[in-house]
């Protein structure tokens, strides 16, 4: 088991967002979906060490990484690409990618990794001298994922990679994510686009109110309509 | 029942404060002691006024001590250079300081946070520069000496040892009543609202800049009067009142005493003024001790000395509905 989240509780101040949630990521691609504000992003932030859980354990590659600093978790090869448009607004693409390889494990390999990133996202190579805040939405997303790859991840966590992208770009990005998965990097992906998740992932978790509301292990068994009903049923 | 006790407690503390105020000048008769008392009371006025804008409104107005200094210079210049009769110079000082405060804050409050601190700080420096460059009127770096005594029907306050002591006390009591009244009124609540969440406050009809400018103007009134009394009492107006060290001392009174309480800075003004004077024989080391105390207070008692009071459980319960110090927020959660 590559990543195992065992009964994690976490939140911000007095507000508890995650309630003893458990998920598992084997050598497979796992998707998280569910309504906004129900804890998907908080879960990733807890796994990557930005938030300290109040209970539960996170185990990565057999090591207990609960409560460790984000720095040391990145060092283990668990890389989180956060949601949001611009990672480092006033840095060039080249600088941002270089920084992606900051961890001791990735730094010596940064040149060869960058070649790989550029071959995956040729557009980034063209834009390498440009500041991140002048990039288009799709390019920003590519830069963010590219910087994540620079960390030489064993498991890559992507938070809404297709957010705010037009359908064509979305398809393009989904293809790139497939290509990343094909290299053997594990994936844990949050997205609102269920079709994309269904095409990409072997396993899906529906997260509601900080808990796993549905765990779909066998993709062929997913009744599209059922999932959607479940999704919208929460408020209806 | 509980309410009765609250009320009795309040009346009792008012009686105690008034009794102490009445008796203190009669007890503290030595020249040094009296001097220290008057000074600490005037500092208490300035620090507690500053608390309205810094603690409640969260404005980094570093020109507050300049209001005190301008007050003292208006008194000195008006009486010495233009022969304005005493008492009238007090009114003049209030008018000038309120005007300066309003103008500067209207400009400075276009900015936010640290920029406000830096620009208002620059204003204080400007005052020193103006005093130095307009020597003929201000006396330059030496200052103005011989500010006339305040008098009532021929009775000179300086001729009676207790008179300035009482005058300073009256100013402090009136100023404290005014500041507490302002701070707990809807005006004060609006300042706290703006401090805590400006976008939300303006979306509920609170005019941000106007409220803040008004707060600064209000806080400058007793402060300018304290400056006048200071000049009349010491008979001098000196550019030292604009120094970085006085600003630092008064700021530490606000923060060590407890920002957002009005009372805290008064307590700290007395403690710090008397304390640094009491350690007189230590020379410069006393400033080092004060510096360490400031850091320790901010570290371990972020609500200031006044928050010690709330460690008493009964009072803490009552205070739960009041406005806590901005620095104490994190500590309580």
């Amino acid at each position: 088991m590559r990543l195992q989240v065992e009964a994690i509780s976490a939140g911000y101040g007095r507000v508890r967002v995650l309630h003893e949630i458990s998920i598992a990521v084997d050598n497979q691609r796992v998707g998280l979906f569910g309504p906004n504000g129900h804890g998907k992003t908080t879960l990733l932030r807890t796994i990557s060490g930005l938030i300290r859980p109040t209970a539960g354990r996170v185990i990565f590659d057999g090591k207990d990484i609960t409560g460790r600093s984000p720095q040391s978790i990145v060092g283990e090869g668990l890389v989180h690409v956060p949601q949001g448009s611009t990672l480092l607004p006033r840095m060039t693409v080249l600088e941002a990618l270089t920084l992606g390889a900051y961890s001791r494990r990735a730094w010596p390999r940064r040149r060869s990794t960058m070649e790989q990133v550029f071959s995956l996202f040729p557009r980034l190579a063209e834009r390498r001298a440009q500041r991140c805040n002048t990039l288009s939405g799709g390019e920003r997303q590519m830069a963010a994922i590219g910087a994540g790859l620079m960390g030489c991840p064993k498991l890559l966590m992507l938070d809404e990679p297709t957010l705010g992208l037009a359908p064509k770009l979305r398809a393009e990005l989904a293809q790139a994510i497939h290509a990343i998965a094909a290299t053997g990097v594990g994936l844990l992906v949050i997205d609102q686009d269920i079709d994309m998740l269904l095409g990409l992932c072997d396993r899906l978790y529906l997260i509601e109110q900080g808990r796993v509301a549905l765990d779909v292990v066998d993709r062929s068994a997913i009744q599209h309509q059922d999932v959607l009903k479940r999704y919208f049923g929460s408020a209806a | 029942m509980k309410k009765d006790w609250t009320r009795i407690g309040r009346i009792a503390s008012i009686v105690v404060v008034l009794a102490v105020a009445a008796v203190a000048p009669l007890v503290l008769t030595g020249g040094v002691a009296q001097n220290l008392a008057v000074l600490s009371i005037l500092y208490a006025v300035v620090a507690s006024n500053w608390d309205l804008t810094l603690g409640y409104a969260g404005i980094f107005n570093f020109a507050h001590v300049a209001f005190f200094g301008i007050g003292s210079y208006v008194a000195a210049i008006a009486t010495l250079q233009f022969g304005v009769p005493v008492w009238l110079d007090l009114i003049l000082a209030v008018v000038v300081v309120v005007a300066v405060g309003g103008l500067v804050s209207a400009l400075a409050l276009r900015l936010r946070g640290i920029y406000v601190a830096l620009v208002t700080f620059a204003l204080t420096q400007l005052c020193v520069a103006l005093i130095n460059s307009a020597k003929d009127i201000t006396g330059g770096p030496v200052g103005l000496i011989g500010v006339p005594d305040l008098e009532i029907r021929g009775f000179e306050l300086g001729s009676e040892p207790h008179a300035y002591f009482y005058a300073a006390e009256v100013l402090l009591i009136l100023s404290t009543i005014a500041m507490r009244w302002l701070a707990t009124s809807h005006f004060g609540l609006s300042l706290v609202a703006l401090r805590d969440y400006e976008a939300y406050a303006v979306a509920r009809g609170i005019p941000a800049r106007r409220q803040r400018v008004l707060a600064i103007m209000a806080s400058s009134i007793p402060t300018s009067l304290a400056g006048c009394l200071y000049a009349h009492y010491l008979i001098v107006a000196s550019p030292d009142v604009f120094s970085f060290s006085l600003t630092t001392l008064l700021l530490s009174m606000v923060l060590v005493g407890g920002a957002g309480t009005i009372y805290g800075p008064i307590v700290a003004a007395i403690v710090l003024t008397v304390g640094t004077e009491g350690l007189h024989q230590l020379g410069n080391i006393r400033y080092m001790i004060v510096a360490v105390l400031i850091v320790l207070t901010l570290r371990f008692l972020p609500g200031g000395l006044w928050s010690l009071w709330t460690l008493v459980p009964a009072i803490r319960r009552r205070r739960a509905t009041r406005v806590p110090s901005p620095l104490a927020e994190e500590a309580s959660s």
């Binding site: 507000v15 359908p167 919208f232 | 609006s190 609202a193 969440y197 406050a201 979306a203 509905t321």
Partner: protein, 261 residues
């Protein structure tokens, strides 16, 4: 097409709120571009769209917090408000809530509402007390009136934000994702509250990601994408629109059909 739609609707009575070709850019990014719509009294207009489509920015442009539009006009009750300070806009009867639960955490629940009454409606004395009591009662906050606002739950804070808005009797209530982070029963409660406000004579402008709520109570829905208005129309029509499905609903479209149909 959508422009025509809104014009047609405005021919009857003069609109309460009219937004005409409003735009705002941050550097190279056009956060809101050429958005127009109109709202009559007691209208409920829902606004949907992916994150980052410019919905909240549009709210900020209408209420002047914390910036003004680069281009276009906003008219509320016949008065131009696109260059007006936010506190004046509130006094005209346009109240908004914020996406993040906001409160004046250091003040009590009652003081929070009382500030709105004082500065929004110029009330004082008994009139203010009555208005505050009524608003607290309406949002079921009377029991907590003396507690500090920071002690409220998420839904409690959201209700407090509504109480401080309705205490002045606004003509238009703009709600920015009011249901995010709420439980199902709280969403249901919120829904009846919103409909109640409408019945009291307020128009509602609602940004919401929880589609059953949005499609359930809106008379019309506007979908935004990339800062632009994609479509505006009755919920059933919007849910079937191919552009909306592509840009926003995606896999959710079938469910949206079911809901709208």
């Amino acid at each position: 097409m959508s422009m025509q739609g809104s014009r047609m609707q405005t021919t009857g009575s003069p609109p309460l709120l009219e937004v005409a070709s409003v735009g705002k850019s941050f550097g190279a990014l056009a956060a809101v571009a050429d958005v127009s719509f109109a709202l009559r009294e007691r209208d409920i207009l829902g606004i949907a769209g992916p994150n980052g489509a410019g919905k909240t920015t549009l709210f900020n442009l209408i209420t002047g917090t914390p910036f003004f539009p680069d281009s276009g006009r906003v008219t509320f009750r016949g008065t131009r408000i696109d260059r007006m300070a936010p506190h004046r806009i509130f006094r005209l009867g346009l109240a908004r809530t914020f996406q993040k639960e906001a409160s004046f955490a250091n003040l009590t629940v009652e003081q929070n509402v009382s500030l709105g009454a004082t500065y929004g409606a110029g009330l004082s004395g008994r009139a203010r007390e009555r208005a505050v009591d009524a608003a607290l009662e309406r949002l079921d906050l009377s029991a907590m009136r003396r507690q500090p606002a920071s002690s409220l739950t998420v839904y409690g804070t959201k209700r407090l934000m509504l109480a401080s808005a309705i205490v002045v009797g606004p003509k238009l209530l703009m709600l920015d994702e009011p249901a995010s982070g709420l439980t199902a029963s709280e969403v249901a409660d919120l829904q009846s509250l919103i409909l109640g406000f409408r019945d009291d004579g307020m128009a509602i402008l609602l940004i919401e990601h929880i589609l059953p709520l949005l499609f359930g109570i809106s008379e019309r829905v506007m979908v935004m994408d990339f800062g632009r208005k994609l479509i505006e129309g009755p919920p059933s029509e919007v849910a079937r629109d191919q552009r909306v499905i592509d840009a926003y609903l995606g896999g959710q479209s079938e469910a949206a059909h079911a809901l709208a149909g």
